[in-house]
């Protein structure tokens, strides 16, 4: 077993064997049938919209006006602010929870475990209600921004703690032994050897979680924080344009998360020293 460089085969070739002639024919038929079905479905939906009058200009014309977009843009900025802040807090807190849990100090470890499982198991909406309804009762007033950001961050931190832990566990034991054998302390081993490798393993999961954070921010309406979703709701009431607005907002969210994915691939490439074994 030598440890020479190998290029990893793509998932596709690793999981499936190359199709033969009969399989290729079956794939072609399947593709054609599903394309036709999809076209039919889209046609049906559009027809239904037309019949019920949803395609009337009054539902769409406001989208051609700048104030509409300025308002949406303000919401977009709000969403980005909350998502980035919550994401950053969750990263730090998740890391801290993981380090606490794997510290080997029994009480700390147990406490971090309970906290992790709690935030991981409780829906973020419930956490938001807690910060919105319960916390103020004890005289703590916070701006809507934090009433939204903190619960979203806490919910994500529980998941991230587990993601980090999975990454740390994926680092081969030999790396730790080698670090110990040259006299590195536990913490230096963690910081210099284990974490840098663990984070490279879990970048895809970290990104997936950031997408969840972005989606979690859409419950901003609970605390009346002007994020993209909340502003869209205001527009909907103003113009009585439910369908068109929701479609537009859905597309924007897809684009945001698409951008996050692209950025992550770029970051992974930039920092990704190949660690093939």
């Amino acid at each position: 077993m030598s440890a020479r460089t190998q290029t990893a085969p793509s998932v596709r070739t690793a999981l499936y064997e190359a199709p033969g002639p009969r399989t290729r024919r079956r794939i072609a038929i399947g593709t054609a049938v599903s394309a036709v079905l999809l076209a039919l479905l889209v046609a049906l939906v559009v027809r239904q919209f037309y019949v019920t009058g949803q395609l009337a200009p009054r539902y769409w014309s406001f989208l051609l006006e700048w104030p509409t977009w300025r308002f949406l843009l303000q919401g977009f900025v709000g969403t980005v602010e909350v998502a980035l802040t919550a994401g950053a807090i969750a990263l730090v807190l998740g890391l801290a929870l993981m380090l606490g849990r794997t510290s080997g100090i029994a009480p700390l470890s147990a406490a971090c475990r309970v906290v992790t499982d709690f935030f991981r198991g409780v829906p973020s909406l419930l956490l938001i209600y807690f910060f919105f309804l319960v916390v103020p009762q004890y005289g703590i007033q916070m701006p809507a921004f934090w009433m939204l950001t903190l619960p979203v961050a806490l919910a994500a931190s529980g998941v991230l703690a587990e993601v980090f832990r999975a990454g740390v566990n994926a680092v081969p034991k030999g790396q730790v032994e080698a670090a110990y054998s040259i006299g590195l302390s536990r913490w230096k081993t963690m910081g210099l050897i284990v974490l840098p490798q663990a984070i490279r393993y879990v970048i895809p999961s970290l990104i997936a979680q950031l997408v969840v954070v972005v989606k979690d921010t859409t419950v901003a309406y609970v605390v009346s924080y002007p994020d993209l979703m909340q502003n869209a709701r205001v527009l909907i009431t103003n113009y009585d344009a439910l369908l068109s607005m929701y479609l537009v907002v859905a597309v924007i969210y897809v684009l945001i998360n698409f951008a996050i994915n692209k950025a992550s691939v770029y970051v992974a490439h930039r920092t990704g020293v190949k660690i093939i074994r």
Partner: protein
């Protein structure tokens, strides 16, 4: 040479006294007693599962022991914390799987210990690292990451990483067992040179020709016990125990 260091010379670098270890019901080390003197090359051989790797790893506490004592230059091996880390930094260890830090270049692998543990400057650490990499013949790979090197090159870099700490002694835990056959000799050559240079070495290996050529003493282990020890010629030509004879017969003809 002063009186003191002359006296020090008589203290074994590594000493194991009545070391016992269990994995559950399995008794992996049974009353192991061993001394390694300064400059001595000790080769440990034996069938797989005989406890030779485990013994090697107890010396810098990568494996704990149940009872007995391990002394490094007469001092008991620390159990934990800063003292243990310092002791480990003074003992080199070379692993079967190389265990080079996968996310760092070869040069960074070699300079990490000197910089983080010994507090050397970057320039100082890199200068010595390049000397060592030159010596083991991988200087040209200094700026590559481990995955870009062959197994033999990785193992030689791993030896350089250990040497960078200027260790009192080095342990080799089956250093050639994970290598393709054509790369075994390039690693053994480096080890031979180290031995000639006076390094104190404990080598767990299946390379009998290396043992014969380089070892000052051969220890034969089976079932967690040291069954026999002696000079290489004694051991290979006139094994005293039945167990050792069987083992030597079983590996002959290869």
């Amino acid at each position: 040479m002063s009186q003191d260091s002359a006296a020090e010379k008589n203290v074994p670098v590594i000493e194991l006294r009545h070391v016992d270890k269990h994995y559950g019901d399995l008794h992996v080390l049974r009353d192991v007693n061993l001394t390694v003197s300064r400059g001595e090359v000790l080769v440990v051989i034996g069938p797989s599962g005989s406890g030779k790797s485990t013994m090697c790893r107890t010396i810098n506490r990568l494996e704990t022991i149940d009872s007995g004592e391990i002394l490094i230059e007469g001092e008991p091996l620390p159990q934990e914390g800063r003292d243990l880390a310092r002791m480990r930094s003074e003992l080199g260890m070379v692993f079967q799987q190389f265990n080079l830090f996968a996310h760092k270049t070869i040069l960074e692998n070699v300079t990490l210990g000197p910089r983080e543990v010994l507090g050397q400057s970057k320039e100082e650490a890199e200068k010595y690292a390049m000397e060592l990499l030159e010596r083991v013949g991988v200087a040209e790979q200094a700026h590559k990451v481990p995955a870009q090197l062959s197994g033999g090159q990785q193992q030689r870099a791993a030896i350089a990483r250990s040497l960078a700490m200027r260790p009192k002694a080095m342990m080799f835990d089956e250093p050639t067992s994970a290598l393709d056959p054509e790369m075994i000799n390039e690693v053994l050559d480096v080890m031979v040179e180290l031995a000639r240079g006076g390094m104190t070495m404990v080598v767990v290996t299946h390379e009998m020709s290396f043992a014969r050529r380089v070892a000052d003493r051969v220890v034969f282990m089976a079932d967690g016990q040291i069954v026999e020890e002696g000079s290489p010629d004694e051991f290979f030509d006139h094994p005293k125990t039945q167990r050792a004879r069987e083992f030597l017969d079983s590996i002959k003809g290869h």
